[in-house]
């Protein structure tokens, strides 16, 4: 039970990822498949961000240690904890996963668009976007 509490984020993200994977495999409709892929991709991003969260941390945008904001944030935490894990008096979350995921999201939408345009061209060539019907058309036209 304790494992479920301490790893709740990871477990929830796994459920999300598996939902995306299920959509990807269970449907033959290419658009729905791309939606499943997007779901899977977003969930992977959530896993990375979960890993980078530091308890009691704040966003990795520096604030002055003597500003009222920083004082209020530090007042919520144990001073020993701040001294050990903080950077000049403020505890920040890990910025590295944020950087990786930020670019991944924009690249993700660009690749999603490429995938969808391939689906459009498949529709134009085969007259359908159902995977099994495409296979049937290909079986009928062995020359291709």
């Amino acid at each position: 039970m304790n494992f479920v509490v301490t790893h709740f984020n990871y477990l929830a993200v796994i459920v999300l990822m598996m939902t995306g994977l299920y959509v990807l495999f269970a449907t033959g409709n290419l658009i729905k498949r791309m939606i499943g892929l997007a779901l899977f991709q977003t969930s992977t991003a959530l896993l990375y961000i979960s890993l980078g969260k530091v308890a009691g941390g704040t966003a990795a945008i520096k604030i002055y240690p003597d500003s009222p904001e920083a004082q209020a944030l530090a007042a919520q935490l144990d001073p020993a904890y701040v001294a050990q894990f903080g950077v000049s008096g403020v505890v920040y979350s890990n910025p590295l996963p944020h950087v990786l995921i930020l670019t991944a999201i924009v690249v993700g939408v660009a690749t999603l668009a490429v995938g969808l345009s391939i689906a459009v061209r498949i529709r134009e060539a085969y007259g359908t976007i159902e995977a099994d019907e495409i296979e049937a058309v290909r079986a009928r036209e062995p020359g291709e």
Binding site: I14, M17, Y22, V107, L116
Partner: protein, 354 residues
């Protein structure tokens, strides 16, 4: 106050994750593609709120504008072009994927049990590289937003790669779908009394504000949440809104296709050019410390801008800004290219292609 904020953070985290699970289940369950696309947009919004709770302000920004904005519009455009029927459901086809997914999920749970518990500050992920970025950024780069510092300076070469990928994806879509309106589409049926005056007026008000906000996000990116990627997508939303309300012909008349493609290439060129200038001045590729010749750097008075408590490295400042401008140019024009490719491809082309 103090305990409440921490407890509220975790409770909100749990509530939003449960909400995300519910939306994902609905996406898997629904047969309507429109509903699935709309729920994908809602999923993005909810996950963006969750990202704010997880302190990932920059990522939340990106996810909101990309996931809820551009990707929804792109999915709609693709759905229009393929004209699918309702998604067919065959329970026999669902068994094998379900077994597979449960198996993979069990393996992942096994793998995750080896991770440090959530929020652990001394976990391997958080203790070494991430922490040293936080410690060193004020000295090395001198800007408050560590995410932008890592993105544009420490990992600038990686970001150049990402920008090129976005550019290549834009070229791919343009090659496959063409650019802009290719033929005059049949007018949609108009009912008497049906007009969208309110929308037209609102859009006319909003479009300049969106562009202004995009530039605010760009120039504010090293001080707060924001940066070239977010600003680029927001900037692209303005032409998209214009095309949605006033028609794609009007938009491509204002922004010609060749111009947009040229700007996309220019963005990559600006990014790489900054690197080359650094090399010409004796540094490494994208080593912004050598962006200016020493003679120029000496002419900048110390403490010209900003707060004196942060050491100001002017090469880093201008290097990051120029690189972000390059990212903005490429990302925004790529998004516009993608939108025009999907929206402008006439539906009856689909029928005649066979």
């Amino acid at each position: 106050m103090n305990a409440i904020a921490l407890e509220a953070s975790f409770a909100l985290n749990v509530a939003l994750l449960l909400m995300l699970v519910a939306i994902a289940a609905a996406i898997a369950w629904t047969r309507s593609l429109v509903a699935a696309i709309l729920l994908m947009g809602v999923y993005s919004l909810a996950s963006a709120v969750w990202l704010v709770v997880m302190d990932a302000a920059d990522v939340a920004f990106t996810e909101a504008v990309v996931g809820a904005g551009v990707s929804t519009v792109v999915l709609l455009g693709a759905t229009l072009l393929v004209r699918p029927g309702p998604v067919r459901v065959d329970w026999r086809r669902a068994i094998a994927p379900a077994v597979l997914v449960v198996g993979v999920g069990a393996l992942l749970v096994l793998a995750v049990s080896g991770l440090a518990s959530f929020g652990d500050p001394s976990s391997p992920a958080n203790a070494h590289v991430g922490r040293s970025y936080l410690v060193e950024t004020p000295n090395d780069i001198g800007i408050p937003n560590v995410v932008t510092a890592v993105l544009a300076s420490y990992r600038g070469f990686d970001t150049l790669g990402e920008t090129v990928v976005v550019f290549a994806a834009g070229i791919g879509v343009a090659l496959m779908l063409g650019f802009g309106p290719r033929s005059s589409l049949p007018q949609p049926p108009v009912q008497p009394g049906e007009h969208h005056v309110v929308l037209r007026v609102t859009a006319r008000l909003l479009i300049p504000l969106i562009i202004l906000f995009a530039f605010y996000v760009l120039f504010h990116g090293d001080l707060g949440a924001g940066g070239g990627f977010q600003a680029g997508v927001i900037l692209a939303v303005a032409p998209i809104l214009h095309a949605l309300v006033f028609g794609l012909h009007a938009t491509t008349a204002a922004i010609p296709a060749g111009f947009v493609r040229g700007v996309a290439a220019l963005g990559v060129l600006v990014f790489a050019g900054v690197g080359v200038v650094c090399m010409a001045n004796g540094g490494g590729f994208l080593d912004y410390d050598r962006l200016f010749m020493p003679r120029v750097e000496a002419m900048i008075p110390p403490g010209l801008l900003g707060d004196p408590t942060y050491s100001h490295n002017w090469g880093q400042h201008f290097g990051i800004l120029l690189v972000e401008v390059g990212v903005l140019l490429t990302v925004s024009s790529t998004m516009v290219t993608i939108f025009c490719g999907f929206a402008g491809r006439a539906t009856h082309d689909v029928g005649s292609a066979r």
